[in-house]
Symmetry: C2
Subunit: 430 residues, 2 copies
């Protein structure tokens, strides 16, 4: 019998000294009951919780785990660098090596700036877009996640109307909506933000329509505004380049994070020469932005990305997971929607408007050693093997069986019900 | 003869792939000519540049180096944690241990939230202040540095008027100015920000006036607003507690960073129970905010802070440096102003309105193996010994001698002159 006594004891302590018991995207508040909050070990593709239960981890730290936790070559690079210099009074030469490596690898990029959070990179893109021609309006797709600063966080607490005064929202993948938003910006268009594909939570993922992406590029050019691709979540899981290279559109700026150091804290903004002058006029910095160890990890990660077949591998593994899961669901009488790139799967059930089936399914898989998300896209990592997918499908097969048996008694999440009653958080933005 | 050929070659490469050649607070653009941009080794209290020149480092990574670079016990904690879990799908139990340790140590704190940048912590304080009673106005001292996001960055590039629409500026240490600013906020006061002392660049540092600090506390209470101490720069160099404990004033929120993991990337916002409910209502997060290795480093740093005499030691070392330097200057006919706490020294020359003496002095000390700043407060670390200070004073003695000899031919920095011509950056805020 799976125990969670230690996790519960930790939650009780956490409730005393952390507001709400936990915060941010790694709070389990939105997860099905029984999901562990605390983990003590991560290796390869597996994580172990505080009670010693081990899972095949399809969240991959919400992205950063691209090549496997504690990847040996990256750990060697980290430990070697730690004996030299990390956070100090200036950057190490690695910042130049890494900027060159990124410029070499990412087609649209002529320069790089490194930072810590994905939000740092997207906020730099916002500032550079505005500095570029001293314009104010920035277009972002409704519900797209670009970070959790006042201009971008999906919840209203602590946010003022002024924080978003010059943002204009439009529907993803709709060239007409984009064109209308550009008209609304008038002579004041600074930039257009795009996620590489639509990866909002609780929704099917949608790949970008080529006409939409090309329209974004054309409108930005016509108005001397900057086009920004936010590749923080999807980076290096669609291409060894900016994700929009897959549809032939080059942005002026791209934001990167998560996978860049395979879990080491580093993010980046890349840009072309058109955006360089504005980039040199903003003042942005952070205490640890110049630290050398995450850059050593990123250089090694980028080398592995360049030199190995990791991408083909995660695409193959992702397809195995997708096809296996969808077929398995059919066998048990469920219709599953598996959307987005196979390396960033979102799995939702048909006829499940309150997500109760998805939640029950993930809870049942968790009990059998597979960590899935019922509302957020998941991530495939390159340490996953065909044997891992076979083991996963054995667990999910049993999970489908369980929810088929219990189907009539499954209750929806009380929290989700309460949230559905409230206004959608994004209404505050408009 | 000291070489800088490798540094120059790196700068040329950097100019190609990094906007402006470097960015942020670790760019040497404001430093005297000849200061190295790139470093390859940091150990104890010394850093070595790309050309192999070694310096006693009085910048301490702009703060993070509190106990010595590569502190053995902290490195052991880091390396042990790296074999377990770092960035993963959830936090490790260390987040609870660390929150408890901070709450135990910091008198005003009932809870903690961890993040990466100092800016993350100050921005969370801004958001929580506004969420607390749904008010908007936040008071900050003119020229005080609270980070480099659009609401706080000291330069205008990419910043809109709306980013600061509800900030009200007042003069540090002036109770009347503070009272007037509160009046200006009317019924809409959300919070009052304070740095523990005035540590603006290019200016004498000023310790907080007790009346001013108590006025801030009283006004916040009267208006049910939150008082925030931004301890990111000064934390743990004035007290084993929030820095304003030294004058008997407890804030509702305090922002921490830099020293917290002795260089590992971690910052924190601490708060009291009054602020807890608002803190649980904002949505803030980051890809690496829950990573375990920086928390292991922070736990070990906090243990050393609690159990050793590091504070007495850095105060003693700082006083040796201050007294030695001031006396030495007198001997060479210079009047030096050494302001602020001895552990965070700012050193400026009298009769040096364009800073040419300070710049020439720091350049002369650098040639002799001592890295000082002519415009930013410096930092003392606990690895510094009396022998280090003796070695420092030998170098600074020779530096005073050199600038005394050359006094009439010393030219001011061209860049500083150009900047002085421009508007002060803070005028944009008002």
């Amino acid at each position: 019998m799976r125990s969670n006594a230690k996790d519960r004891a930790l939650r009780e302590r956490a409730a005393q000294v952390i507001p709400g018991g936990m915060y941010g995207h790694q709070s389990t508040i939105l997860m099905p009951e029984g999901f562990p909050q605390f983990f003590t070990q991560a290796e390869g593709t597996r994580i172990s919780d505080a009670d010693g239960n081990t899972y095949i981890d399809f969240m991959c730290a919400f992205g950063p785990n691209l090549l496997g936790y504690q990847h040996p070559e990256i750990m060697t690079a980290i430990q070697r660098q730690q004996t030299q210099i990390d956070t100090s009074t200036g950057p190490s030469p690695l910042i130049v090596d890494l900027a060159e490596a990124m410029v070499d690898m990412i087609s649209h990029a002529d320069w790089a700036m490194f930072c810590k959070n994905g939000s740092d990179a997207t906020t730099m893109a916002l500032m550079i877009s505005r500095a570029h021609r001293d314009k104010r309006k920035v277009l972002v797709a409704t519900n797209a996640y670009h970070g959790s600063l006042p201009w971008s966080t999906p919840r209203p607490g602590g946010v003022l109307a002024e924080d978003r005064a010059h943002l204009i929202y439009f529907d993803y993948n709709d060239p007409q909506a984009l064109t209308d938003a550009v008209k609304q910006a008038g002579n004041d268009l600074a930039g257009i933000f795009a996620t590489p594909f639509r990866h909002d939570t609780f929704t099917d993922q949608t790949l970008p329509d080529a006409e939409y992406a090309h329209t974004a590029r054309r409108l930005a050019d016509e108005h001397d505004a900057l086009l920004v691709v936010d590749d923080v979540r999807a980076g290096f899981r669609m291409a060894r380049d900016c994700s929009w290279e897959t549809i032939g559109v080059r942005p002026d700026l791209s934001a990167w994070g998560k996978v860049l150091g395979n879990g080491q804290p580093i993010s980046a903004l890349l840009g072309n020469n058109r955006a360089r002058e504005a980039a040199s006029r903003i003042f942005v910095t952070g205490s640890y932005w110049f630290s050398a160890v995450p850059m050593a990890a990123a250089l090694e990660t980028v080398r592995i990305i360049r030199e190995t077949d990791y991408l083909d591998h995660i695409q193959k593994i992702g397809a195995l997971f997708r096809n296996g899961l969808v077929e398995q669901a059919k066998g048990f009488g469920f219709d599953l929607r598996h959307t987005g790139p196979e390396t960033l799967p979102m799995v939702l059930f048909d006829d499940d408007p309150d997500f109760r089936l998805g939640y029950a399914f993930c809870a049942a898989a968790l009990k059998r050693g597979v960590y899935l998300s019922p509302y957020h896209n998941m991530f495939i990592n390159a340490a996953m093997t065909e044997a891992d997918i076979a083991e996963t499908l054995e667990a999910t097969g049993a999970a489908f069986e369980e929810i088929k048996q219990n189907r009539d008694s499954i209750q929806p999440s009380q929290l989700l019900m309460a949230m559905a009653e409230q206004k959608r958080p994004t209404t505050m933005r408009q």
